[in-house]
């Protein structure tokens, strides 16, 4: 039985990871946020040109408000693991897709980890809508452009209006449905996100 870690290539072995173009010079980030088991890694895998990789970031929290634990020393270290995949868009641009758990306790980390991201996809399981509330609050507060994608496992009994209402979604935020297992469907979700960012840009332009 293969474990989750045993099939990863060691760095000193030939890698199956295809090399980027020698001219690649601009990394672009999109974050896929969602609750446990909603299909984040599935979506990354369906569009990525590499098998999703996993790594971890250690964050040192210094001088930040870490709850009300005044007896704790000024520095606290936390480690968070995350998955990512890659899409070579052209000779220069490479898109990295990061799967990020949406749980509240991770958010202070994601804020820093994913600064400068093009935007985010909030992946929602319609049967567990409340899992997404915190992620949406946080993205709104942070000013990160995002869309909501319902990963449709079939048998959905809710209308778009009901989902919008349950999420208390800003009318300007697109809501799409998808099948995270499908490359075409996941690709369309990413396209919807980029088009949404374009429309935000156009709105800002016309307002200024």
């Amino acid at each position: 039985m293969a474990s989750a870690t045993s099939d990863r290539p060691a760095f000193d072995q030939p890698s199956a990871r295809p090399a980027l173009h020698a001219t690649s010079d601009n990394g672009v980030k999109i974050v896929i946020v969602g609750g446990f088991g909603v299909g984040k890694t599935t979506m990354v895998r369906s569009v990525s040109e590499i098998r999703p990789l996993n790594t971890e970031e250690t964050m040192t929290l210094a001088g930040e408000s870490v709850d009300d634990t005044t007896e704790v020393s000024a520095k606290t270290s936390t480690t968070v693991a995350f998955d990512f995949g890659r899409i070579s868009l052209d000779q220069h641009n490479v898109l990295y897709l990061f799967g990020a758990p949406g749980q509240e306790r991770f958010w202070f980390l994601w804020d820093r980890l994913f600064s400068g991201t093009l935007g985010a996809v909030v992946l929602v399981d319609i049967r567990r809508i409340a899992d997404s509330w915190y992620a949406i609050d946080r993205l709104e507060a942070h000013g990160t452009p995002f869309i909501v994608a319902c990963n449709d496992f079939g048998g959905t009994a809710y209308s778009y209006e009901q989902v919008r209402e349950a999420l208390d979604l800003d009318p300007a935020v697109p809501l799409v449905s998808c099948d995270a297992r499908s490359r075409g469907s996941s690709k369309n979700v990413l396209i919807s996100l980029v088009q949404h960012v374009q429309s935000l840009y156009a709105t800002q332009e016309s307002a200024s």
């Binding site: 990863r8 290539p9 060691a10 760095f11 000193d12 890698s15 990871r17 090399a19 980027l20 173009h21 020698a22 690649s24 010079d25 601009n26 990394g27 672009v28 980030k29 569009v47 990789l53 996993n54 790594t55 971890e56 970031e57 250690t58 964050m59 040192t60 480690t79 990512f84 890659r86 899409i87 070579s88 868009l89 052209d90 220069h92 641009n93 490479v94 898109l95 990295y96 990061f98 980890l113 400068g116 093009l118 000013g143 452009p145 490359r183 690709k187 990413l190 396209i191 980029v194 088009q195 960012v197 374009q198 935000l200 840009y201 800002q204 332009e205 200024s208």
Partner: protein
């Protein structure tokens, strides 16, 4: 040679970086692309040599961390050593349009075209 991995003791990670934190290497984003400017030389720290081999073609910081199975913060320190020595160069992601705090329109268009061609 033992392979660096996430089972490593903090002492080993400390040794890898000479005890330094990544304070000076925050400029390296997860998706900054690193490119080797020289081949690995005998006697080099094995992690440095591995990074140079990996970066014969552009490779993102986060990919280097995943392949070395080291935390990103440790890899940032190793990369700043290599940058300081002139062994690698960094291709930084394009910053957002400052007035809009959004990616520039031409970049958005390029991303869109790339995705549609998938």
């Amino acid at each position: 040679m033992s392979r660096p991995g996430r089972d490593d003791s903090p002492e080993r990670l400390y040794t890898l970086t000479g005890g330094r934190s990544s304070a000076g290497s925050d400029a390296l984003d997860l998706v900054t692309l690193m490119v080797a400017d020289r081949a690995p030389a005998p006697g080099m720290q094995s992690e440095h040599a591995a990074i140079l081999r990996m970066c014969e073609r552009p490779t993102a910081v986060v990919e280097i961390a995943a392949e070395l199975r080291l935390p990103v913060s440790i890899v940032r320190v190793l990369l700043s050593d290599l940058l300081d020595a002139g062994h690698v160069s960094a291709r930084h992601p394009r910053p957002a349009d400052p007035t809009h705090r959004l990616p520039a329109p031409d970049l958005l268009e390029q991303v869109l075209v790339g995705l549609r061609n998938l």
